[in-house]
């Protein structure tokens, strides 16, 4: 075991987990409580959390990083391969990159964050190299640049054959920086005092214990938000916990209407080939899961190629809605050509997820602060709209995680180091503990697995989450609200594992409400948000973002206009501003 790390506070593998979680809860003895203090609490140990923790520690702050899984082997970070890097010495031109993104984003990217991500990506690449992460290099020793899309932007690729898993190298650097790492603890509730966030409460996955973290600044790096779609295992842990607890604490959330539209092969869900392909020998009987890959053109049930995006709109056509349009027109299934013949492709792979970096906490300033004092966010948990309504900048997801993690880590540490000693009221701690343990203290109720299935079945159909219309969104919303009002308060956990499932379910249901309400609110179509009843972009009214916050127990939606200097030139004809036509326009 690496020094400074621990598994739920106990040495691993000595913890007798299989026995331990049978004690406590459901009328049993009260859970043990552990209290830890830090200047900066980082929640989530993907690329954003690792950068945040390292950079905060470098400022002199005492940092705790806590992860629901095992930092370095959890979240989406271990899956990524391409790291966007912008370097004028390589002939890159900022104006060109910005012009490309501004257009592919359909003009709703937050240009401040797009630019800062591009500008600072190279410095973060250098950090990674200094920490021991290896990138593919050519014979000249220089990193190989992968132009994606050709002639526009460049990404570098991790070299895992000679360098080892980069995510685990990051973990080692976190530990070397003096950060205390606690694995396998789910954070479920934020602590608040005098309007500011002052830490969080969580529990280990395998025992009915409670962990109270008192921190002067807290950074949410919990990654993306999904509804546990079976076709995308990499996000099974990413269940909207961050935005849900932040919303409950009063923070503002952004970008829930822009859905991620990854599709996947029916027989080999996303991520499995990546995982099995990590260098070890794959057992013979599992080779079938590696699949023969995907090709182009994909065809519909009638054998016709499905329409592709016009050149220049984006290379990343798979994050658009073409397949959903085909399904809606009655032309499913969709097939992809492979060396083994055509194979079926299905949608909804990332159910519950927004387009990368669209949804998450609203950045209230340029330092990754949320709208709540003491609370910051970075990586996929920050809704900084760096890619707007369409993800077209390859490798910018992890580069963005490194960039925002750095900004948040430095800002949170500086804030914490300016503060005196923090005393958090016992009443607030008791409230949070009660909320965290509640599903385990009920004597009965509904199983979180069942409610999760209900939610998936409500949100999964293409005609709800992807091809949207007011009446269908309303119908789904009334079901989701029933779940929220009648099922969530009765979620029932029989052990710590199910306590996790209960909190995940509660958070996903809240996020589904956000998603449906935002989709209803945005009465236009743009990028990955398609409204059948409003099939055109509406620039005069909707060059805007949709922000959500709780007011008097209700979910309030707020339109935030985009600065006019970021608008497209409205004298240019609509068809030129937007090369892609939505069905029904």
């Amino acid at each position: 075991m690496e020094q400074g790390s621990s598994t739920a506070g106990l040495g691993f593998p000595e913890g007798a987990w299989i026995k331990a979680d049978r004690a406590g809860g459901n009328g049993g003895p009260a859970p043990n409580e552990y209290r830890l203090e830090a200047d900066v609490l980082v929640i989530g140990g993907g690329i954003a959390g690792c950068f945040a923790a390292i950079k905060a520690s470098e400022q002199g702050a005492r940092v705790i990083l806590v992860d629901k899984g095992y930092a370095g082997k959890s979240g989406q970070t271990p899956y990524a391969r391409n790291f966007m890097a912008f370097n004028p010495a390589w002939g890159h031109n900022l104006d060109d990159w910005m012009a490309y993104i501004n257009k592919t984003s359909e003009y709703v990217n937050n240009r401040y964050w797009t630019e800062i991500t591009i500008r600072e990506s190279y410095a973060r690449y250098l950090d990674l190299v200094a920490w021991g992460v290896r990138f593919q290099t050519g014979e000249d020793g220089q990193p190989i640049r992968h132009p994606v899309p050709p002639g526009i932007t460049d990404a570098l690729r991790f070299d895992e054959t000679s360098g080892g898993d980069y995510a685990q190298i990051l973990r080692k650097q976190v530990l070397r920086s003096g950060v205390r790492v606690l694995d396998r603890i789910m954070i479920a509730e934020l602590l608040k005092q005098d309007g500011a966030v002052v830490g969080a409460v969580g529990f280990p996955l395998d025992r009915y214990d409670l962990y109270v973290f008192i921190a002067k600044a807290t950074i949410l790096c919990v990654g993306a938000c999904g509804f546990k779609p079976a076709a995308y295992p990499p996000i099974v842990q990413l269940t909207c916990d961050g935005e849900a607890m932040a919303y409950r604490a009063g923070a503002e959330i952004l970008g829930k209407e822009f859905v991620d539209t990854h599709s996947t092969r029916m027989d080999t869900p996303v991520g499995i080939p990546n995982m099995l392909g990590r260098g070890r020998n794959v057992p013979e009987h599992l080779k079938v899961l590696m699949g023969p890959g995907r090709g182009k053109p994909e065809t519909n049930a009638e054998g016709n190629p499905i329409p592709d995006r016009p050149a220049g709109a984006s290379l990343y056509t798979y994050t658009y809605l073409e397949r959903e349009f085909e399904a809606h027109a009655g032309r499913a299934p969709i097939y992809t050509p492979t060396p083994e013949g055509k194979k079926e492709v299905v949608g909804g792979a990332c159910l519950g997820m927004s387009l990368r970096k669209a949804d998450g906490l609203w950045p209230a300033d340029t330092h990754c602060a949320s709208s709540l004092p003491g609370l910051y966010a970075a990586g996929d948990a920050l809704g900084n709209m760096q890619n707007g309504a369409v993800y077209a900048l390859a490798g910018s997801a992890i580069a963005g995680g490194a960039v925002t993690g750095t900004i948040a880590g430095v800002a949170a540490a500086r804030q914490a180091l300016r503060m005196g000693k923090l005393a958090v009221g016992e009443r607030e701690i008791a409230r949070a503990k009660q909320a965290v343990h509640a599903p385990a203290s009920r004597s009965g109720g509904f199983s979180p697995r069942w409610v999760t299935q209900l939610l998936q079945n409500t949100m999964m159909p293409y005609f709800v989450s992807y091809i949207k219309r007011a009446d269908r969104l309303q119908a789904a919303l009334s079901l989701v609200m029933f779940m929220q009002q009648h099922l969530v308060p009765r979620l029932f956990a029989r052990d710590a594992h199910e306590l996790r499932l209960a909190h995940e379910t509660r958070n996903m249901v809240l996020s589904a409400e956000m998603r449906l309400r935002s989709a209803l609110f945005r009465t236009e179509s743009r990028g990955n948000h398609y409204r059948e009843d409003y099939p055109r972009r509406d620039d005069p009214n909707w060059l805007a973002w949709v922000k959500i916050r709780e007011e008097q127990g209700e979910m309030r939606l707020i339109k935030v206009p985009i600065p006019t200097e970021w608008w497209p030139d409205l004298s240019i004809p609509y068809e030129q501003r937007y090369p892609f036509r939505f069905p029904g326009e």
Binding site: F12, I18, K73, S74, R184, D206, P233, I272, R449, W450
Partner: protein, 73 residues
């Protein structure tokens, strides 16, 4: 398709699969110094455990099974 079990003859109790499983399906049995499949119904077939296990002790079937969807649960 899901995890079916651990080949206890091969498992050396290193714990790598427990730490990497994103769905907390596998747990360590301290007494036996072996891992056990504790929550198979939550396995998402991500294959982290397969990729981590140097003993090839994880038994996972590539055949897909869908859980029952019920009126209450």
């Amino acid at each position: 398709m899901a995890i079916e079990g651990i080949d206890t003859a091969r498992c050396n109790g290193c714990g790598a699969c427990v730490l990497s499983c994103p769905a907390d399906v596998i747990r360590m049995d301290k007494d036996a110094k072996k891992t056990v499949v504790r929550y198979p119904q939550d396995c998402v077939v991500c294959c982290w455990c397969i990729a981590e296990c140097e003993q090839d002790a994880i038994v996972l079937t590539p055949i897909r099974t869908a859980p029952l969807f019920t009126a209450w649960g």
